[in-house]
Amino acid sequence: MRKSWLVAAATYRRRVRSSAFLLLTFGLPLLMVAVGAISILTQIRGALPPVGYVDRTGQLATVESVPVMDETLDLTPYADVDAAQQALMDGDIAGYLVVPEDYFEEEAARPTFYGEERPNARLESGLTAFMRQAMLPEAPASQIERLEDPAEITFVARQTGERVAQGPALVVRFATPALLAIIFVFTVFTSANQMGSAVVREKEQRAMEMVITSLAPRELVVGKVLGMMLLSLTQVGVWMIGAGVAIGLALFGTLSVQDLSIPWSAVLWAVLLGVPAYFLYAVLGAGLGVIAGDKQQARQLAGLLGFLGMGPLYLTGAIINNLDGPLSIGLTLFPLTAPTIALFRMTLSDVPTWQLAASFAIIVVGLVASIWIVARIFRAAMLMYGQALRPRQIVRALREA
């Protein structure tokens, strides 16, 4: 195993310094953080400008200011739209809200805001606060505040005792498994391709003959895959940190950490199924790289493998329609689709533990068998520079081992 780690470390060091890896790994999260930062910058940009309003219902109370977070939104009532429009053109206000006459009578009737620009989130929040206060002028501030979310429900699961609050926390609870599944699919898709290309490149550099006289083909395959896996983990880790920062910036002030309800069992199964399944994909990717004659052929073969990884996404509808049906269970037990399908099912229902445990065992057995097979093909093909391995040669390689 020591030699496998040496190969893994060398593989990692060689590729982690490449400009393509650095660009892809850090470019994407920087972009995400930039988007998040823009979102927050738009929120904290300058003071809230004064606005006006026209009450055509005649039933709203006069409100001259409302608190918005740590600021105050100043409002001016106008008798009609012409007056408000004039004030807007004079630059006295940044816009005005028109509350229609039939606001209290028809559900479809909505207030309309006219302004130079589209109102930002803080101004929207201020206008909503204005409407609440204008409709209930006598109500205490605490009641008006409560009206913002009158039924914030906490859901408690009787069997597990799990508590999930309504709102963004609930979304986090149910979106996490699906998000983990998508991360798995994305990682597998990119790394199967990278693995195949890495092996072809290794063959092209003709260093294999020297290396293979120092360690067993199995150790070389495991080392290569470990190195590539560490690379992918680095990449996904950086992306997740970037995504976390970006989401944090985007949701700034709207959701606290305590509100989050992470489904830890889904995270645990994502690791237990995802890590060996990723390893399995990488070993198969290496095998396809060995069989391929050149990088283009390796990419084509890796594309087929990636398609297998993406497959469950196309079957989402069929699986959601029958979460515990034979298709769902079958794909949960099939090693190449197990992590994605199991996590998708967890999004909407509980997956029986025996299925998850069986899935884990099948993936591990599949992984060991794959390493055995790929190592033998590796031995036969590694010295065939620029040539693809024919099916008959693959069979012979397996038989002679």
């Binding site: 060398a10 490449s18 003709r206 003959e209 020297m210 360690l215 067993a216 002679e400």
Partner: protein, 309 residues
């Protein structure tokens, strides 16, 4: 240790579908000798080497390496410089040597010490932080030689070690090989440079079409192909000499082809006894290895080109 059998190949064959690349090959290599593995392209040399190194399995026969069957542990005691040169282009020279040295079982510290010492010796110290892709062919060749020998193997297999090297670097590598031999390393050298074999090898194996054609000490092989000719420098004129079937002037002297059964010693006595002749140099003509090679496999060389198994 010198003289101990390091490699014992017994009746080894390798068949690829309808082609038998190696046919019942047997030979031994001893510690402290440089053994020449010769043959035209496609003769089965590389297949033989790969079977010895356990890269491919023989169809039949037995190979004993360093006293027994090949094991993973023994890989650390063997060095290999393949004909197909290649190192990782995107690694620096020093990192490459540290990596390959550690794969051969050296600790990182020892690998560093050995790498630094060898790099100084082969005059690559200044290039230690350079990437492999930025090195010349000759530098690459030396780097690969260091990578294959820095763990000081007991058995070293080198395929065309001097190709692409200038005379200065050839001398450096040759001296290193001779030093390793003197330390007791068994060295198998596969090359087409016959003069290097004559300079460095004690015994040879010549294979053709996967079969053993010549095998044994270099002197014995030469003896086997001796032409029974002598070259003589002398004062005086010769028209006819008893026991000589052909007399031809050469470089101011003569080359004499002896008749069947006539020994050079007898001819020398005859010449010395001639009153009008003074012998200044008398030398038995050595058949060169290249002549022997061409004589044995010459016709087949062109037919076998590009069929390296």
């Amino acid at each position: 240790m010198n003289g101990t059998i390091a490699l014992d190949v017994r009746g080894v064959s390798k068949r690829y579908a309808a082609v038998e690349a190696v046919k019942g090959l047997s030979f031994t290599v001893r510690q402290g000798e440089i053994f020449g593995l010769l043959g035209p392209n496609g003769a089965g040399k590389t297949t033989t080497i790969r079977m010895v190194l356990d890269i491919i399995k023989p169809t039949s026969g037995e190979i004993s390496v360093l006293g027994g069957p090949m094991t993973e542990e023994k890989k650390s005691r063997i060095g290999y410089l393949p004909e197909e040169r290649g190192l990782y282009d995107d690694m620096t020279l020093l990192d490459t040597l540290l990596f390959l040295g550690q794969l051969k079982g050296l600790s990182r510290q020892t690998a560093r010490e050995r790498a630094e010492a060898y790099l100084r010796e082969v005059e690559l110290w200044e290039a230690r932080e350079r990437k492999i892709e930025a090195m010349s062919q000759g530098m690459n060749q030396k780097a690969q030689f260091v990578a294959g020998t820095m763990h000081e193997p007991e058995l070293l297999i080198i395929d065309e070690p001097f190709s692409g090297l200038d005379p200065v670097n050839t001398r450096i590598i040759k001296d290193l090989l001779l030093r390793m031999r003197d330390r007791g390393t068994a060295i198998i050298m596969s090359t087409h440079q016959m003069h290097r074999v004559e300079e460095m090898c004690q015994r040879i194996l010549l294979i053709d079409h996967g079969e053993r054609v010549l095998y044994g000490p270099l002197d014995d092989v030469r003896e086997q192909f001796a032409t029974n000719a002598v070259e003589v420098d002398l004062k005086g004129e010769l028209d006819e000499v008893p026991g000589v079937k052909r007399l031809s002037p050469r470089n101011g002297g003569y080359r004499m082809m002896l008749e069947e059964g006539v020994k050079p010693e007898g001819l020398l006595q005859t010449l010395v006894d001639m009153p009008e002749v003074t012998v200044e140099r008398f030398e038995r003509v050595q058949t060169s290895l290249e002549d022997i090679f061409v004589q044995v496999v010459g016709r087949e060389v062109s037919e076998s080109e590009g069929e390296e198994a």
